[in-house]
Amino acid sequence: MTTTIGIPILLGLLLLPVYTVLAGFLFGEPRDFRTAGIGLGVMAAMAVFMIGSTAMMGIVFGMITPF
């Protein structure tokens, strides 16, 4: 495998908005870690929800798919 450009693309490009949110929520004025924590918690929960619902979709499709 000669192509490993994915790591710079992931860390340097795709995750830029995540860095922005982390920095902005935690260090943006006014400082309020409780509210920032709620915001980050919401994002983490949604990430789990999205991956979980993908898994659920796979399971449901698997029950319908005969092969």
Binding site: M1, T2, T3, T65, F67
Partner: protein
């Protein structure tokens, strides 16, 4: 391969006698040949550097052959002598060993050096349990399209062997014409090219498409494939065949298991299949099946030659060395940078070649082109669109 395996100890009398016998048959200087072979093994074992090897025999090789084409320039290194990262041919030393052995092969001693290197590589890999170690074996084919008569027996044998449905033509013989001024019909025998830099593997989002380390065959893990078909769009050769419906082809009788991965035989419904170089034969306990494919076995004009492309004595290399009959050799769409492992003998189809009008003969073998459920294909019916 050679008749007898070499004794293990390169300093022993038995090894000396064995090597002398082999080199004697080539008609070249026996003393030089045996020396080259012995030191090739030392390089493979890491007891001698490649540079030392090159220097030691440079004069003698020039005397004997009048030319020394072996790479004498040192490989690029950092100032401290460590290998440059990311530069092909450096870093793990495998490539340098390989190029050195190619050189040995070029002067008629390939069997000695290569088998020694294979043994040592495998032994080291087995001892250290290093999963990353690559073998020096790269299976491939030499296909002589100049000999091909488009009997399509290879296509039939392939589908029979792998239990493929009639529409999944892992091996396909394309009939084409170059231009309108001649009626010369030419044939392109097209299995998977088993590329060394396979775009299908780079595309795959589930890591299902992989190269088997032992012999460089490109395979699909049928248990992992999700059927997204990104491999198919990324392949410039059009060799991938999705199983759109329940395959319903013949039976596949061999074991689908290749090193613990379900990768041999026809693809199950909803997954991607393509030529496996008859992977089930390569891992078979039956030694007479190893190193063979169904298409090669059945070809009546000996156009298909399957074997290790890094082995001078293998069927494809021997064919390319001795039997091309002055025909040009080429690799398909080499400009795509895929490093295909099939070498063709004959005329390369140009980008303007068109398929010949009319039936192409698949139906004589109950093979079809059209996917089950889709309308019948007429060759040449789309000329107006061009």
């Amino acid at each position: 391969m050679n008749a007898s395996d070499p004794p293990d100890d390169i300093d022993s009398e038995a090894w000396e006698a064995w090597a002398t016998e082999v080199v004697d048959g080539t008609g070249f200087d026996v003393e030089l040949g045996v020396g080259l072979a012995r030191d090739a093994q030392r390089v493979a074992r890491g007891e001698m550097t490649e540079a030392e090897y090159q220097a030691k025999y440079h004069e003698d090789v020039l005397d004997e052959f009048g030319v020394d084409d072996r790479p004498t320039a040192p490989e690029p290194q950092k100032a401290d002598g460590s290998p440059l990262p990311g530069v092909p041919g450096t870093g793990n030393g495998k490539r340098s060993r390989r190029s050195m052995l190619k050189t040995a092969g070029a002067i008629g001693l390939g069997t000695l050096g290569l088998s020694a290197a294979q043994q040592s590589t495998r032994t080291v890999a087995a001892q250290s349990g290093d999963g990353d170690s690559e073998s020096d074996v790269q299976m491939g084919m030499a296909i002589n399209t100049d000999r091909c008569i488009a009997c399509l027996q290879c296509m039939d044998a392939c589908n029979e062997e792998n239990g493929n449905p009639a529409e999944s033509l892992w091996m396909a013989v394309l009939r084409y014409q170059e231009d309108d001024y001649t009626d010369n019909e030419e044939f392109l025998t097209r299995p998977c090219q088993h590329c060394s830099d396979a775009p299908c593997e780079t595309a795959c989002p589930t890591n299902a498409r992989y190269t088997r380390e032992e012999d460089g065959i490109v395979l699909t893990d049928y248990d992992q494939c999700t059927g997204c078909r990104y491999c198919e769009v990324s392949c410039p050769y059009g060799v991938n065949y999705m199983e759109w419906a329940e395959p319903g082809g013949g039976d596949f009788e061999a074991d689908r298991d290749v090193d613990g991965v379900t990768a041999a035989g026809s693809a199950p419904q909803g997954t991607m299949g393509k030529c496996t170089f008859c992977a089930h034969r390569q891992v078979s306990d039956d030694e007479s099946l190893q190193g063979t494919t169904a298409c090669e076995d059945v070809c009546p004009v000996d156009a298909i030659h399957f074997g290790d492309m890094n082995d001078e004595e293998s069927a494809p290399r021997q064919h390319l060395a001795n039997d091309t009959g002055g025909q040009p050799t080429y690799r398909l769409l080499e400009d795509k940078g895929t490093e295909p492992n099939i070498v063709y003998v004959g005329n390369e189809p140009s980008r303007t070649a068109t398929q010949t009008d009319g039936p192409t003969g698949e139906n004589e073998f109950d093979l079809v082109r059209e996917r089950h459920g889709r309308r019948e294909i007429e060759i040449g019916s789309h000329e107006d669109d061009d």
